[in-house]
């Protein structure tokens, strides 16, 4: 039996179904992310695990015990909020010690644990400061330390980095992963940032409109999206109209070119199938040879410099295709109007 199990949980507010039949099994020590656009039900699902909401149907078990209707304070779950939610009237030390105090632990033990937690988040010198004296990033570290001080069975994080600026966000997410790994704590992380989800997680749960679209390791989610939603939501994706499909030879026609595609993942095709390919899989310039190579030729419509990558928009017989190439210091940019050849392997593309 898995450490945490969500079985068929649904949540309805009035006539709107916010979460619909969500199933999830997480092993001990696993880092799981709920990823999806706002309003997809990821936060509500997390809040049901925390006990702040109760599902209308379904059950939640933790380490074999049914906790579906258990009040939050009896669940032994650590929670980190987007707004930090530190107690403004308490010092950093008192904040971290709060959960231990409610458990009526002896003073020396609390002090020892507080010191240990502060060392873990590298804020030892701030023990007597008040939250308003700290920066946002420091406050969130304290909130993390506070949640972990009680030795929770599960750590829940609700968009913990959304209120921080980009640089701190990148720093802190590595910190979160490091601490999670050292403590080996089972973690559920809610985010709308796919980079964050992929970087941090062992498995990602992609959600949309209240239901789970796909559960899997980040690379699986990215390379083999199970649904059109996942394909489009995670990463960039070209979806090219297909005029003729021959499943027997696994070829189709795109903008006047014959394209070989991969059929390893069998999937039912929609009425008007499209060819899916990630922009970074397209190579420019040299025509590739061999059985597995595909070629499209067209004209560059625009060139966008994004720093690490350069994004080309290419018109192939009226179909606009995006191709990403890596930047180099001595790069000569292609220009709008240039004729160009795009190459890609048959393993890079699939039909949706």
């Amino acid at each position: 039996m898995a450490f945490i199990e969500l079985s068929n949980i649904s949540k309805v507010y009035g006539t709107t179904t916010v979460v619909e039949k969500v199933n999830l099994e997480a092993e001990k020590g696993e880092f799981i992310s709920f990823l999806g656009p706002s309003g997809c039900g990821k936060t509500t699902t997390l809040r049901m695990v925390a006990g702040f909401e109760q599902p209308n149907t379904g059950s939640i078990t933790l380490d074999g015990a049914d906790i579906t209707y258990l009040p939050p304070r009896q669940r032994n779950i650590g929670m980190v909020f987007q707004s930090y939610a530190l107690f403004p009237n308490m010092t950093v030390g008192q904040n971290i010690g709060f959960g231990l105090q409610t458990r009526k632990l002896p003073k020396e033990e609390i002090k020892q644990k507080v010191d240990e937690m502060l060392a873990m988040v590298h804020l030892e010198s701030h023990i007597d400061k008040y939250p308003y004296q700290l920066s946002g990033g420091q406050q969130q570290r304290i909130a993390l330390a506070r949640a972990l001080a009680i030795n929770p069975a599960v750590l829940l994080l609700d968009e913990p980095l959304s209120a921080l600026d980009a640089k701190i966000r990148v720093e802190l997410r590595l910190e979160i992963r490091r601490i999670q790994q050292t403590m080996g704590i089972t973690t559920i992380y809610v985010t709308h940032d796919q980079e964050e989800a992929m970087l941090l997680s062992d498995r990602v749960v992609v959600m949309s409109q209240g239901h789970v679209e796909q559960i899997g390791p980040p690379s699986r989610i990215y390379n083999y999206p199970a649904t059109e939603f996942v394909a489009q939501f995670v990463g960039q994706l070209n979806l090219l109209p297909v005029s003729a499909v021959d499943m027997a030879s696994a070829t189709c026609t795109v903008a006047g070119h014959t394209i070989r595609f991969e059929t390893s993942v069998a999937r039912e095709l929609s009425e008007s199938p499209r060819l899916a390919i990630r922009p970074e899989e397209l190579q420019i310039g040299f025509p590739a040879a061999g059985e597995e190579a595909n070629t499209l030729s067209g004209e560059i419509a625009s060139v966008l410099f994004l720093g690490a990558i350069v994004r080309l928009r290419v018109l192939v017989n009226g179909v606009l295709i995006t191709a990403d190439i890596f930047n180099e210091r001595n790069i000569t940019f292609p220009r709008a109007g240039d004729e160009i050849v795009l190459n890609f392997s048959k393993h890079a593309c699939w039909l949706i």
Partner: protein, 265 residues
């Protein structure tokens, strides 16, 4: 530039005169109990009067209980409304304002009519009248106590703090007394001082329910019977109220310092 500054000072001066002139005249008058000399004898008389001390002590005790009960009533109510029943906020705010709309004289007659009969019989004992007076004052001060607490509560993220405390194992009592109350310190203090200032000088309800025992009716009695002492007592009660207001200001300043600091993140 100069022009603006002249006119703004001009209006400040007019406003100050309007405000301070009667006060200064009263003060001046209170010093003229003896012909031809300025003397504090009227103040001495007031301070020597045991009834001054007994009435002011009585009113302070009543004010203290009013403060305790109104805070214990309003803080959990506002907390619960913010957390669970936001749709009731308008209704409760309306109810809290009713004592503004209903004149105190009407309120006090209603109270006596209802609570002197069965099953309450509150007017049959002194203790009963004290209870009735405190209850009446809780209603009377509800508008600003509710406002102050509600504003204070809007400044903190009640929901997130509650949930954080819950997940850390805190029960309702712990959350209210260790998280919510301490973070409303400024709001509670200002409602405490406003309540004190109101209750100490209140006349209508006090005179009908407990009579001359309270400071309000005592002031009125002095005003009717003694010429110079009535002015001195006016000055004394003014000074007391101002002292309270200044205490509020000090605490409010403390708050603004904190919030401006937290703004620099």
């Amino acid at each position: 530039m100069k022009r603006t500054s002249f006119w703004s000072w001009f209006w400040v001066a007019i406003g100050s005169l309007y405000f301070f002139l009667p006060l200064l005249s009263t003060f001046d008058f209170s010093l003229r109990a003896k012909k031809g000399v300025l003397t504090f004898i009227a103040y001495e008389n007031v301070f020597k009067d045991p009834q001054f001390w007994s009435t002011i002590r009585f009113s302070l005790v009543i004010a203290l209980f009013t403060v305790i009960f109104s805070i214990l009533l309003v803080v959990p109510t506002v907390y619960w409304i913010r957390l669970r029943l936001p749709q009731l906020r308008m209704l409760v705010e309306f109810i809290s304002m009713l004592s503004y709309v209903i004149p105190a004289i009407v309120l006090v007659f209603g109270l006596i009519r209802v609570f002197s009969g069965a099953p309450f019989h509150l007017t049959n004992s002194y203790f009963g009248t004290y209870v009735l007076l405190v209850a009446a004052y809780v209603v009377l001060t509800l508008p600003f106590v509710f406002r102050a607490i509600d504003t204070g509560m809007s400044a903190i993220d009640v929901r997130a703090l509650t949930e954080a405390a819950q997940s850390l194992g805190a029960g309702r009592g712990t959350i209210l007394f260790r998280v919510i109350f301490p973070n409303l310190r400024v709001a509670i203090l200002s409602s405490v001082f406003l309540t004190l200032a109101t209750v100490i000088g209140e006349y209508t309800m006090a005179s009908f329910i407990v009579g001359i025992k309270a400071f309000g009716p005592y002031m009125s009695l002095i005003g009717q019977n003694k010429t110079y002492e009535s002015s001195s007592i006016t000055i004394i009660s003014f000074t007391m109220t101002w002292a309270l207001m200044m205490v509020i200001q000090v605490f409010n300043r403390d708050k603004t310092k904190r919030s401006s600091l937290s703004g620099v993140r």
